[in-house]
């Protein structure tokens, strides 16, 4: 070994080693240089994949763009107002609100409940925790396809079970009926992401020392009071953060809805992202689609700002 390394070092003049060491230590000792060094790659990537497309889309939304005509026709910002005023946009926006907030409410309730459940100490708790997190690893496409199979009115297992148990008399095409399609898509699209909430909440739950519960017990607290006074204050912020992230992501959700219903039946599940897709790739009105996307961005940005102001999820719980 020593022979090899001796030979290698002998090939490199010793002053080179020294210079590179000096250079490195100078970089690491200077906080500002180190910061620049660490931040630049991430920042460059961010500008490339996030900022530039966003600016591009905003710019695009000010023109009439056709896939067949290479000439962009200036329409100006008035176009955005036209979009907002249009009935189809408003309807899609309403459905987005229903889908977004409904899904998130579902995810929070299911996710937090699941976290509380697997946080308990029992035999096989570690396995249960691992299993609970499994759905997060299944791709949305697979979930959508499997969901379609399971919900099918002719051969789906869900109809079969519901009829056998006696809840239903006749099979129901959950995804085919305007009354049930939205709720069904919300549930199927959410169970995977409920696990995301579980993941965050569980990490927080595990950090609550047991003696806080014992202390509350000795003060005379029952199970609900312990949840209210010990658990909830400590997981409140993580739930708020999870809710914000999930809302942003669910508003932009495209894949699961597209796979399961393509926005149908009729337009009952056409949310803003599906509406934008429709406008862009079926009607080839790229400028308008970009405008819809831009409006969506503005709405979500405003909503995040309001949310941070009101809910203050960044405020950590005071720890004694």
């Amino acid at each position: 070994m020593s022979v090899v390394s001796d030979r290698v070092t002998a090939l490199v003049p010793s002053q080179w080693w020294q210079r590179s060491h000096e250079l490195l230590s100078r970089v690491f000792e200077d906080d500002r240089r180190l910061l620049a060094l660490c931040l630049t790659p991430a920042l460059a990537l961010y500008v490339l994949v996030a900022i530039l497309p966003m600016v591009w889309a905003f710019n695009l939304s000010l023109y009439e763009v056709s896939t067949l005509n290479p000439v962009w026709e200036w329409t100006g910002p008035g176009r955005l107002l036209d979009i907002v005023a249009s009935g189809t946009f408003q309807a899609a926006f309403g459905r987005s609100l229903v889908f977004g907030f409904g899904s998130v409410a579902f995810q929070i309730v299911v996710g937090v409940s699941l976290a509380l459940l697997v946080n308990r100490e029992f035999k096989g708790a570690v396995l249960a925790r691992a299993l609970a997190l499994l759905p997060y690893m299944v791709p949305a496409v697979a979930i959508g396809m499997v969901g379609q199979f399971m919900l099918n009115a002719q051969y789906g297992i869900i109809n079969l079970v519901l009829i056998r148990v006696g809840i239903l008399n006749n099979p129901v095409a959950f995804l085919g009926l305007p009354e049930t399609a939205m709720a069904t898509v919300m549930v199927v699209g959410s169970w995977k992401f409920a696990v995301f909430v579980t993941l965050l909440t569980l990490a927080r739950l595990q950090s609550i020392p047991e003696n806080f519960y014992e202390g509350a017990t000795m003060c005379g607290a029952n199970a609900y009071q312990k949840f209210r006074d010990v658990t909830l204050p400590r997981i409140k912020n993580v739930i708020l953060i999870a809710a914000l992230l999930r809302t942003l992501w669910m508003f932009n959700k495209f894949d699961i809805i597209y796979i399961m219903t393509r926005g149908g039946p009729g337009e009952t599940t056409t949310t803003i992202p599906l509406h934008a897709y429709e406008v862009a790739f079926n009607q080839y009105r790229l400028g308008e689609a970009a405008g819809i996307a831009a409006l969506m961005f503005v709405f979500l940005a405003l909503w995040s700002i309001v949310y941070f102001r009101v809910a203050r999820p960044e405020e950590e719980v005071r720890v004694a």
């Binding site: 509350a216 000795m218 003060c219 005379g220 006074d229 005071r318």
Partner: protein, 374 residues
């Protein structure tokens, strides 16, 4: 208030290596209004015992009775006992007054009344000006006061304290000790206090329980435990500096021969029932130390002198290892390197096999007031 009776209490934990007996068929009674410390080395089962009384652990077998009511199967929140933890379990998101009055909140008492009651309690424990702060803004001692305040607000049947001061610094500990005794006199409750600090137990208790290996080694007043230990363990655990213990042989009555030496010690004990093979014990404070060039008998060279206030604690290199003795700094100044002879004023003889006390010399005729228990 109430007395606490513990009857053949046993607590086993299962672990990978099989069953661990944390508390081994323990029985005792804490009288109404008494301050009892449970003291012992870590892992002796003292905290488990306290948690069983509180109901945080369910005993494997045995009975717990509070003021005549069997509570073994009563859940902890219904026992009306106060518990102060080693790690101070205040609610970080509640202000001090909310923390103190938390038990009242659970009883559905309105906020105004709670604030008033918290104010009263806070004045008792002298933190009246801190009511509107958050626990995170307080020092460790103040936080522990708040925890104590929370425990006294509902007039519980008894107070259970699990090493409440082990996280505090030495000076604060002394202050809190005095404070705790004052509070106890004021509220007049039965208190059971777990600690590993024998000095704390000695100063606080009316009576103390010395535990080791899941069993009670001795239950009695601090004076009695100190002066008349039941066995080697108690004599060694209680008292500072630590007792000197030497293997010895007892052939001719009161005089014992220290093994591997030609030292003879006249213990002055009534030697009828003393076995031949014994452990000789004498406390560093029960000695006379004399500077002498050539010690005849117990003695050696002083290796280290620790000056503590008015006295020197001497660590002496002898034929049989380190011996400890205490000498007055002014009356009997001794320095490192001196050769000293040690005279034993009061000796204990323990059975070398079982460790039980077999005889105690009584040179000063000071008998303790209470009879042997446990």
């Amino acid at each position: 208030m109430t007395d606490i009776q513990v009857d053949t209490l046993r607590k086993e934990f299962s672990s990978d290596g099989g069953e661990i007996v944390a508390v081994d068929d323990v029985s005792f009674t804490v009288e109404d209004g008494e301050f009892v410390c449970i003291v012992g080395p870590s892992g002796c089962g003292k905290t488990t015992l306290l948690r069983c009384i509180a109901g945080l652990e369910h005993p494997t077998s045995g009975e717990i009775t509070l003021g005549g009511e069997a509570v073994t199967d009563v859940p902890p929140q219904n026992r009306n006992l106060a518990f102060v933890f080693q790690d101070i379990t205040l609610y970080p998101h509640m202000k001090v007054w909310e923390n103190i009055a938390y038990p009242l909140k659970l009883d559905g008492v309105g906020a105004d009344t709670r604030y008033e009651r918290a104010q009263e309690v806070a004045d008792t424990i002298q933190i009246g000006e801190l009511l509107d702060k958050y626990p995170g803004e307080l020092s460790g001692g103040q936080q522990q006061r708040v925890a104590i305040g929370r425990s006294i607000i509902r007039s519980p049947r008894a107070y259970l304290l699990d090493e409440p001061m082990s996280d505090l610094d030495a000076k604060l500990k002394k202050e809190m000790r005095v404070e705790l005794q004052r509070i106890q006199q004021q509220v007049g409750g039965t208190m059971v206090y777990v600690t590993h600090d024998q000095e704390e137990a000695m100063t606080l208790s009316d009576r103390m329980i010395v535990m080791d290996d899941g069993e009670i080694q001795q239950f009695g007043s601090p004076q009695r435990v100190y002066h008349e230990p039941n066995n080697v363990f108690v004599s060694q655990f209680i008292g500072s500096p630590e007792i000197n213990l030497l293997p010895a042989t007892c052939r001719d009555g009161a005089t014992v021969a220290v093994d591997d030496t030609d030292w003879r010690v006249d213990t002055g004990v009534d030697a009828d029932s003393v076995p031949e093979s014994v452990t000789l014990g004498f406390r560093p404070r029960h000695t006379t130390v004399e500077r002498t060039a050539d010690p005849d008998g117990i003695g050696g060279e002083v290796a280290l002198v620790e000056a503590v206030g008015d006295e020197n604690i001497l660590y002496i290199d002898s034929e049989v290892g380190e011996l400890r003795a205490v000498a007055d700094i002014e009356q009997n100044p001794i320095e490192e390197g001196d050769s000293v002879a040690i005279g034993v004023e009061r000796a204990y003889l323990f059975d070398a096999e079982t460790g039980e006390t077999v005889a105690t010399s009584r040179r000063h005729g000071d008998r303790s007031e209470d009879q042997v228990e446990a």
